[in-house]
């Protein structure tokens, strides 16, 4: 696992075969857009010759928290960043309190108030990030996009109060879905995340990976 500090990371992209763009091409295009690292899902091997640093990410879709924990334990060490899909309120509270998880994503897809103040406080204590996915802001139109804006505005209220970490991802499956930091800033300003906030959120992936580890008791 890398201990380097990267200040501009796209927290989730889906390279070929899930998308139409290879990992190296993603890295090349992201570098042109000003990123210094990306998190790629579905990577089996490391990519040392990419233009920028590539983290391997694993998305867990399981719903009962026990299944998530089982999967995290099974695949620990195989991926740098562990990302979990959000669920109902009880699930989210349990997910952000588990140390093996780095990012909770898809908060806009679940029911309103599923990520509540209790989960926000726990996420801040345990340093688990909540992902802001810009793909629905780009691709959705009308009421669907309004709901996402509402959800992110609500999330910003909790973020300003409890200061849990945020990450920003393009969720891109093609390099055409990537957006520059400048473009992301203009989008995020709509729901109340300012330029400094975007800059800090983009550097959060490496901070999450360098967070202090819990004390483990090893039985002899």
């Amino acid at each position: 696992m890398s201990q380097n500090e990267f200040n501009c990371t796209d927290a989730c992209v889906h390279p070929f075969p899930a998308g139409d763009t290879s990992v190296r091409r993603f890295a090349l295009e992201a570098k042109e857009l000003g990123f210094d690292s990306i998190v790629c899902t579905g990577l089996s091997d490391p990519v040392p010759d990419a233009a920028i640093h590539v983290y391997s990410g694993m998305i867990i879709h399981e719903n009962p928290i026990n299944a998530v924990i089982r999967k995290v334990k099974k695949y620990s060490g195989k991926a740098d960043v562990v990302i979990v899909d959000a669920g109902d309120a009880a699930f989210n509270r349990a997910a952000v309190s588990y140390n093996g998880i780095h990012i909770l994503r898809g908060v806009h897809r679940v029911r309103k108030n599923s990520f509540d103040h209790v989960a926000a406080r726990t996420a801040a204590e345990k340093t688990v990030a909540v992902d802001l996915d810009i793909r629905p802001l780009i691709y959705k139109r009308g009421s669907a996009r309004q709901k996402v804006f509402q959800c992110y505005s609500d999330l910003m209220r909790l973020h300003n109060r409890y200061e849990f970490p945020l990450t920003i991802s393009s969720n891109a499956s093609s390099y055409l879905d990537l957006r520059s930091e400048r473009g992301i800033m203009s989008l995020c300003s709509i729901f109340g995340l300012d330029e400094d906030g975007v800059g800090y959120a983009m550097g959060n992936v490496s901070r999450l990976l360098n967070r202090a580890k819990v004390v483990e008791v090893i039985e002899e």
């Binding site: 091409r25 090349l28 879905d177 957006r179 520059s180």
Partner: protein, 160 residues
């Protein structure tokens, strides 16, 4: 009609954006309607009318758009949400904002040249490969039903 004196005119700003992929040939009128649709969808009719967006040029992989001073950020946010024009999947990347077209023209770089074309066959599928920018390779598969496109690099092609 007598032109309005300069002090009574609105101050304008020009935004330069690069079009990706660069070989996408888009009619300026189509681009205007697509961008107007994106702006209206994001900001609504009243704010979109305040922006007073107009496409100045749209060729050679670059787009220059005019707006009222103070609405550049809103225009850029609208540009970011544009995903396609006339069925072509593309993206706009805002490069610079200026008060004069002359300053923006200095920021325009020459387009990459497609250095080599090739036919690539993978698992029975035939692709036309276009090499450009020394490292990038775009693969096109023309089928009767659909056109598939893959975006690779030279290194990927060596490994494959």
């Amino acid at each position: 009609m007598k032109p309005r004196p300069p002090t009574l005119r609105n101050n304008r700003r020009y935004v330069l954006a690069s079009i990706h992929p660069f070989y996408c040939d888009i009619d300026p009128k189509q681009m205007y309607y697509a961008l107007l649709d994106a702006l209206t969808s994001l900001w609504g009719d009243s704010v979109s009318s305040e922006i007073e967006m107009a496409v100045i040029t749209c060729n050679n992989g670059y787009l220059v758009v005019r707006c009222i001073r103070g609405t550049e950020k809103m225009l850029e946010a609208g540009m970011v949400t544009l995903t396609g024009v006339n069925g072509n999947h593309l993206s706009l990347r805002p490069v610079a904002t200026s008060g004069t077209l002359h300053a923006l023209r200095k920021r325009i770089r020459s387009l990459p040249v497609i250095s080599e074309t090739d036919i690539y066959v993978s698992s029975g599928q035939k692709y036309a490969a276009y090499y450009y920018s020394r490292e990038k390779v775009d693969l096109f598969q023309n089928d009767i039903r659909k056109q598939e496109k893959l975006n690779f690099t030279n290194r990927d092609m060596e490994i494959l």
